[in-house]
């Protein structure tokens, strides 16, 4: 999982984010996205109670009561607003976040997402993942194409526990972009020099192209 691949994914997703959109970025690859937005102004939402998250502060301006959902010190953009956790999830669950970008452990060919628990391992953390899956207007999955052991993460049917009934709209890996419709997955764009056959070989899901 090279940093170059991670950046490729972040850059590609940043093209999907409309100017002025409210965005929730999950941990991992999604956190790289703000560096590639160029002139676009988006409003970053943080589950712990902020819309309008700005960049990391200088050391002397750190306030550990102004942090991101990843518990890192942050700043506020102009026009930012603060609220409590209940109101923060009114925004998420009520469909007021335009795009949620999140990682996944698995995603199936209909866009069903598994991103919180691995079978056989302790299940002790879920955070806001299920709320975002249930509520965000549009869900983009940022993920490496394969797991560390080389097995496909983009599968025909989830074997990991589902994150809910919400479905992803788009999947971006280092090799390709897939979009999800009622009919299943569709290859939108290839992002590496893999042939179509090679791409199919490392993908568990069926997709049209």
């Amino acid at each position: 999982m090279s940093q170059q691949d991670r950046i490729k994914i972040a850059k590609r997703i940043s093209k999907e984010l409309p100017d002025g959109a409210s965005i929730n970025l999950g941990v991992g690859i999604p956190t790289l996205i703000p560096d590639y937005l160029g002139d676009k102004k988006v409003d970053l939402h943080s589950e712990n109670g902020l819309l309008g998250m700005g960049p990391t502060p200088d050391e002397e301006n750190i306030n550990m009561d102004l942090i991101s959902a990843s518990k890192k010190p942050i700043t506020m953009d102009k026009g930012a607003c603060l609220f409590d956790s209940a109101d923060s999830f009114v925004m998420i669950r009520g469909g007021h976040i335009d795009v949620a970008v999140m990682g996944a452990l698995q995603i199936d060919q209909y866009g069903e997402i598994a991103n919180w628990a691995i079978p056989g391992k302790d299940i002790l953390g879920v955070g806001g993942a299920m709320d975002l899956v249930a509520g965000a207007k549009r869900i983009i999955i940022a993920s490496m194409h394969q797991a560390k052991d080389g097995s496909p993460k983009f599968v025909e049917k989830l074997t990991f526990p589902t994150s809910g009934n919400g479905r992803a709209d788009l999947l971006v890996t280092e090799h390709a972009v897939f979009k999800f419709t009622e009919n299943g997955a569709e290859l939108v764009e290839q992002l590496s020099d893999l042939s179509l056959e090679e791409l199919k070989d490392i993908t568990g899901a069926k997709f049209t192209y």
Partner: protein, 231 residues
Amino acid sequence: MNKLIDKSEINKYIKDGDTLLVGGFGLSGTPFTLIDELAILGKKELTVVSNNLGEKDKGLGILLHTGSLKKAMGSYFTSNRDAVSEWSKGNLEIELIPQGTLAERIRCGGAGIAGFYTKTAAGTKLAEGKEEKVFDGETYILERAIKGDVSLVKALKADTLGNLIYDHTGRNFNPVMATAGKIVIAEVDEIVEVGELKPDEITTPHVYVDYLVMNEYEKIGGKYVVPTRSN
């Protein structure tokens, strides 16, 4: 009517076996002084409702060393490996709750609402055993209110009536928890005169707050630093 008490007085309001609602997200907005006092008092069999159990050896994390906890209800425990280890050893029950559902269940507890139907977690392992109902073709699950015997919240400032304001994202779960405890104790950095907090900026109205305790941690470089103990 001054609600300020010494931290040691919380001993009168918290019993073994109580359910405590404790504010904070990560370590932000955490009532550190009250948690330290809980550890000193050696309360047992507590159920703690909080987004996470602090961090290792910090915030609620210290209660894992004092054997104070029976159960934790929250959304994220993996960031404190002591919590994971106590759970594995069978010393700690954990109820894992999606973060938004957690916030809303607590809000309902304070709002006289017994339960609500949410889409969040429908169809997942976390919905097992929960009642389902279909609204407009979509499946929702019934989530029930959470109430506490005592709420321990952290605010930036109080006025002497007990009105509270919070420090940026240190607000998080504190305002809903302040509505849902039978007794509500707020740890604050500062107490100001009535009238200094404006009617529009007060986040928690004083009717929710029973007692105020001064935070003994000093904020240095943006982080609360453990006080040098005088006792």
